[in-house]
């Protein structure tokens, strides 16, 4: 059975049908890429999955349970984490705290323990910190060292993206939703990120839904690609199949093949 499933989900804003009757399924351990022209509804799909928007119709099933109507934080607790296309960091908190804060749902120290600093609290706190440092270390040198205690606002754009990914990882998700993780990175850095995503699946066993406009990334790691346009699925299959689909080329890739970065 699929780890995650969208069944005939629709969403509209005013007169604009943004997602219509979309169904898709993701298996445990799969990396599925969502592609499609700007405004196709990709981000909206993520918002529906994470409960930020309520679907007009359809069912969203995760781990065998319907999650529509649940609170956002409950969905996260169930094991779905995401990054935001328009970064949403806790800018005035330090980098390490940005990550540590996301452990909230996975920790349990209560008021009593916190105020009295019981051994249980210390253990948990040290554990959170160690894990957070480990998540940040995923990105090599970029987010470590003196930067741990720097406020997040002092990061450059792409590093903020990396921090978002680290923060999402801290919620210990089963399903990770990445919204354009490679935006703002040069080809070399994009390669880094691509490898990293692969590592997340291989080492942490995550299932990943990826939105990306960089065909290098999509082609590099996707098990499956789903193309959307106007909120509808227009193609689905392996990267090669989708990338050569005339509908996709017409709507998304453009005629000039060499424009697709390798």
């Amino acid at each position: 059975m699929a780890l995650f499933e969208l069944q005939n989900v629709s969403k509209h804003f005013g007169g604009l049908q943004v997602v219509s009757n979309l169904s898709l399924a993701v298996e445990q351990g799969e990396i599925v890429s969502l592609i499609g022209p700007n405004g196709a509804g990709k981000t909206t799909v993520l918002n529906l999955i994470t409960g930020l928007y309520a679907p007009d119709a359809g069912k969203i099933v995760f781990d065998g349970r319907s999650i529509a109507g649940k609170d956002v934080h409950q969905i996260t607790r169930l094991g779905i984490a995401r990054t935001f296309q328009n970064l949403r960091l806790f800018l005035n908190m330090s980098i390490i705290e940005n990550v540590m804060s996301a452990a909230y749902a996975r920790t349990s120290a209560n008021w009593f323990q916190i105020i009295l600093r019981t051994p249980g609290f210390w253990k948990e706190e040290q554990h959170i910190r160690a894990v957070a440092e480990q998540k940040l270390a995923f990105f090599g040198e970029r987010l470590v060292g003196y930067r741990f205690e720097q406020p997040a606002y002092s990061l450059s754009y792409a590093n903020r993206r990396r921090l978002e990914i680290a923060r999402a990882l801290m919620t210990e998700p089963k399903l990770l939703l990445l919204d354009e993780p490679a935006a703002g990175m040069n080809p070399k850095e994009t390669q880094e990120v691509t490898e990293l995503i692969g590592k997340l699946r291989d080492e942490l066993g995550l299932t990943i839904i990826l939105i990306e406009h960089d065909m290098g990334v999509v082609g590099g790691i996707s098990d499956r690609v789903i193309a959307l346009d106007h909120g509808e699925k227009i193609a689905e299959g392996s990267f090669e199949a989708v990338a050569t689909d005339p509908l996709v080329i017409e709507a998304y890739l453009g005629r000039n093949e060499n424009m697709v970065r390798k």
Binding site: F13, G36, P37, N38, G39, A40, K42, T43, Q85, N86, L87, R142, S154, L155, S156, Y157, A158, N159, E180, A183, G184, M185, N186, P187, K188, E189, T190, Q191, H213, M215, A251, Y252, L253, G254, N256, M259, V260, R261
Partner: protein, 243 residues
């Protein structure tokens, strides 16, 4: 392409040092953009590209050094003044006016212009270039998708008919088909006489349309050359172009 004869300098940074709080970010950055040129600024993440643009625009003030625009030292002038002198920007993070409609956002781009007809013509032209914006004309800027916002930021900057167009990753978040179009558009704008200085991570394409390029690394300019030489630069290719 104006590689021949007399070139007038439109923008010059002279030994710029910029700090964020106590941290020294730009260390003696000097660069020059000639009128009519298309110059791109490359660099890894956190190398100081956006900071350079912000310094040019006056969003951060350099601790020392001069920013000369059109012969005038402007490093102590506020942003608004520089824009009045003819700069326009596609900022990092887009900075769309979220609670204004697409239409109003575009009008804001033409804030300093008074030629109604010219504005109208440019407006039509931009909607022609980005048909998606035309479809979303009365939608609030903040509710656009990421890529749509990027188009809007582009359109908004073009609405001011600048002398110097500054762009921080103008193709970020755009679909491949549009990336291609976007670069064509930039080239076209440049050919029509607008000087362009852009930060772009899609280095291959950026260098393919640019005249010259600078490479910034940890707050210093480490390379400056003709675009085609940069494309062939072994070091650069390894470091950035991933080939």
């Amino acid at each position: 392409m104006s590689n021949n004869g007399t070139k007038t300098t439109l923008l010059r940074l002279e030994d710029i040092n910029t700090y964020y709080g106590p941290i020294h970010i730009l260390q003696g950055v000097s660069l020059e953009v000639f009128a009519g040129e298309l110059v791109c600024l490359l660099g890894g993440n956190a190398s100081g590209k956006s900071t350079t643009l912000k310094t040019i625009l006056g969003i951060v003030k350099p601790a020392s050094g001069r920013v000369v625009f059109n012969g005038e030292a402007i490093q102590n002038q506020p942003t608004g003044y520089r824009v009045e002198r003819g700069m326009a920007v596609v900022p990092e993070n887009r900075r769309i006016f979220g609670s204004m409609s697409v239409l109003e956002n575009l009008e804001m781009g033409a804030f300093l212009r008074h030629d109604r007809d010219g504005i109208k013509a440019d407006f039509e032209r931009i909607l022609g270039l980005f048909p998606r914006l035309k479809e979303r004309l009365h939608q609030l800027g903040g509710t656009l998708s990421g890529g749509e916002q990027q188009m809007l930021a582009m359109g908004r900057a073009l609405m001011s008919r600048p002398k110097l167009l500054l762009m921080d990753e103008p193709s970020m978040g755009l679909a491949p088909k549009l990336v291609e179009q976007n670069f064509e558009l930039i080239q076209q704008v440049n050919q029509q006489g607008t000087t362009v200085f852009m930060v772009e991570q899609n280095a291959n394409m950026a260098l393919s349309i640019a005249h010259r390029g600078y490479v910034v690394q940890t707050g210093r300019i480490v390379l400056a050359d003709e675009a085609k030489n940069l494309l062939d630069n072994e070091q650069l290719r390894k470091a950035y172009l991933g080939r």
